[in-house]
């Protein structure tokens, strides 16, 4: 029926091109996240592009290889962790200065925290990008995990039953 073991994923051209591109797409997404204070959209757009890199890999190589790279449970846990980092940062404001959501990592903190610039916005954006990218990836892997197989000489997309 489905000859999935040998011909999983797309054909060779798609696989090689996506193999070169996915690194660049991921880097572009990270660039957008790191410069989030001056590009519109900030962590949201960067997170979605990072998710697109993973989605491209899953589409090109097939579902099994995609799940081995980043499984659904791991992605869901990373999304939860990102959201909790966001909340933790908001709490830091509460502890230090008694106001929720206030950013206190400013220039007066020495050491590793000073590399983040004037305010805590980059960390918020990192957490946001983590959440958004993992979320989109989880949604994709639940709803659209496809096997592209060749059957009777024609290309057919078969949906995989939720196992």
């Amino acid at each position: 029926m489905m000859d999935s073991a040998k011909r999983e994923g797309m054909d060779l051209v798609a696989k090689s091109v996506s193999g070169w591109l996915k690194g660049f797409i991921f880097l572009f997404g990270v660039y957008l996240v790191l410069h989030s204070h001056e590009t519109p959209g900030g962590g949201f757009a960067g997170g979605i592009i990072i998710a697109c890199a993973f989605i491209l890999f899953t589409l090109a190589e097939g579902q099994r290889a995609g799940m081995k790279l980043l499984s659904k449970n791991a992605a869901a846990k990373l999304a939860g962790a990102g959201a909790l980092i966001f909340l933790l940062l908001a709490m830091v404001g509460t502890w230090r200065e008694d106001v929720f959501l206030k950013d206190v990592l400013g220039a007066d903190h020495a050491g590793i925290l000073a590399c983040f610039g004037e305010n805590a916005a980059p960390i918020y954006d990192l957490a946001l990008a983590l959440v958004v990218s993992m979320l989109i990836y989880v949604v994709f892997s639940i709803t659209a995990a496809v096997h592209v197989t060749v059957k009777d000489g024609k290309r057919r997309m078969m949906r995989q039953r939720r196992a």
């Binding site: 846990k77 959201a83 909790l84 106001v99 929720f100 206030k102």
Partner: protein, 495 residues
């Protein structure tokens, strides 16, 4: 007290994100975590009684940032949301074992509670939109939780209609921002009091009436409710019918009508509310009689009782507002109780159809007594809480010179009695049909949740003893709706 306000939203959100990360091996951990979180929230909600204040998020000043406001109406809604949420969480521990993933259910449930708390706490119009969308998406997901035919169809219908309503609300917010230049509710009240209405503002008000009317399930915007509320799992139905339509619909509508667009500004507004309320009351009550699905009957009677509340709001007098808010409080409690009873019947017998049930009072005596209590409360039989709030509304109608409305209210009370008596007779007091023969009483925690709500029914009836025209919790809420303009900065709230 002010510093605790963000935690009403932050604690359930943190728990909602933390629960999926808990390992599946500890089976009791999500139940315990969700119930502990809800108990903490309920305790915090009761602690806000008598307090008032403004909290600026992020430390930004008064006109720059988003603030959280606490006044009498907010306190009332917080008590409603968190205490009924606690009862639902207790009920869900054993009810949701019939569904697939309790972990994800608790996660979405806590997101819903966080969104509801956010709607009532925030003082910024766009934050209200954001939290309302959180509530909406969580409730669509919860309605579709069982993934059966009916649930998916109901969830799709609810989702499409709710999205259109949210779209209308967003256009209204865009128009308000374009005209007034600010999104803070208090600033908007000041500017509207100074400036007056013009065409875009009237259009925005019309859009808000349509959008929030759909969220509150007023006729003619009610089409999603009789499908969505029966199909959801029982604690979700109770939360939707008892809390969500009041918070996302009536609370925001009353804030906008009474606080932002104050009543002197738009003369015909109260008449429109009155008309919508009366039509909902009559049509909802009459449609409830013909239903054979237990929860669908209760859903239509929800529409009728929301009609009572909106009619009370539309009267505009302090007594009318008192009756409306008291009835809102009472209706959340006894409607949730009735939905939990329907859920218990479904858990025990597997069916909600009144034609296939019967004789359950011998096999499930506790549920039968709780349903009797809830039915007496909803039809306004003394000395339960429903009687007092309906009495206040009837007296307010007579006092404001509309005796025929009072007559309609009393008549609809009798119609509600007919509808719930039909439910009682067919489910509990006839001879047993085959489906009901195997029923046994529901597990202990579900009974505890129902008992909690029943005790609330009695306790709330005692509120009238603190003063018929200004009961204990309701008077500050009416006061908060009554006086707002001119309090943009500082801690003062009302006169």
């Amino acid at each position: 007290m002010n510093n605790v306000l963000p935690f009403f939203i932050a604690i359930p959100l943190a728990a909602a994100f933390f629960i999926p990360m808990v390992s599946v091996a500890l089976k009791w951990a999500p139940d315990l975590l969700a119930n502990v979180v809800m108990a903490v929230l309920a305790a915090m909600a009761f602690l806000t009684i008598g307090q008032a204040g403004i909290y600026h998020l992020g430390g930004w000043g008064a006109h720059l940032g988003i603030d959280l406001r606490l006044d009498g109406l907010t306190t009332l809604m917080l008590i409603v949301i968190d205490s009924i949420g606690l009862a639902m969480a207790i009920f869900s521990v054993q009810y949701m074992t019939r569904y697939t993933s309790k972990l994800r259910y608790y996660s979405i449930f806590l997101c819903l509670i966080a969104g509801l708390n956010g709607i009532v706490l925030t003082g910024d119009l766009f934050s209200i939109y954001i939290f309302m969308e959180i509530v909406a998406i969580s409730s669509y997901a919860l309605v579709a939780f069982g993934c059966e035919h009916d649930e998916l169809e109901a969830a799709f219908k609810y989702a499409v209609l709710g999205t259109v309503a949210s779209a209308f609300i967003l256009i209204g917010i865009a128009l308000l921002y374009a005209m007034l230049g600010t999104l803070n509710l208090a600033d908007m009240a000041v500017q509207l009091a100074a400036g007056g209405m013009n065409r875009p503002l009237t259009a925005a008000l019309g859009l808000f009436l349509c959008g929030f009317g759909l969220k509150a399930a007023l006729i003619p915007f009610h089409a999603w409710l009789p499908d969505a509320h029966p199909s959801a799992p029982a604690p979700v139905s109770a939360l939707l019918s008892g809390v969500v339509i009041k918070t996302a619909g009536i609370y925001v509508l009353s804030r906008l009508v009474f606080n932002v667009f104050s009543v002197q500004l738009v003369p015909g507004l109260l008449s429109i509310l009155l008309l919508l309320g009366v039509v909902s009351m009559i049509v909802g009550g009459l449609l409830a009689i013909g239903q054979w699905d237990m929860k669908r009957l209760l859903a239509y009677s929800s529409i009728s009782q929301i009609g009572y509340i909106v009619m009370g709001l539309g009267l505009g007098t302090p007594l009318g507002l008192t009756g409306a808010l008291f009835h809102m409080l009472n209706h959340s409690v006894f409607k949730s109780l009735l939905f939990l009873n329907a859920g218990a019947v479904e858990y025990a017998t597997g069916s909600r159809d009144l034609r296939h049930l019967g004789g359950l009072s011998r096999r499930m005596p506790f549920t039968a007594n709780m349903t009797l209590l809830g039915s007496m409360a909803i039809s306004g039989i003394p000395p339960l809480n429903g009687f007092w709030s309906k009495l206040i509304i009837v007296l307010a109608c007579i006092e404001s010179g509309r005796p025929w409305l009072a007559l309609a209210a009393v008549a609809m009370s009798l119609v509600t009695l007919v509808a719930v008596l039909k439910m009682q007779k067919n489910a509990f007091y006839d001879e047993a049909k085959p489906a009901a023969a195997r029923a046994t009483e529901v597990p202990r925690l579900m009974r505890l949740a129902m008992l909690l709500l029943a005790v609330f029914c009695f306790v709330l009836a005692l509120l009238v003893l603190t003063g018929f025209r200004s009961p204990y919790l309701i008077a500050p809420a009416v006061h908060a709706l009554g006086a707002w303009a001119g309090t943009a900065v500082g801690g003062g709230l009302g006169i």
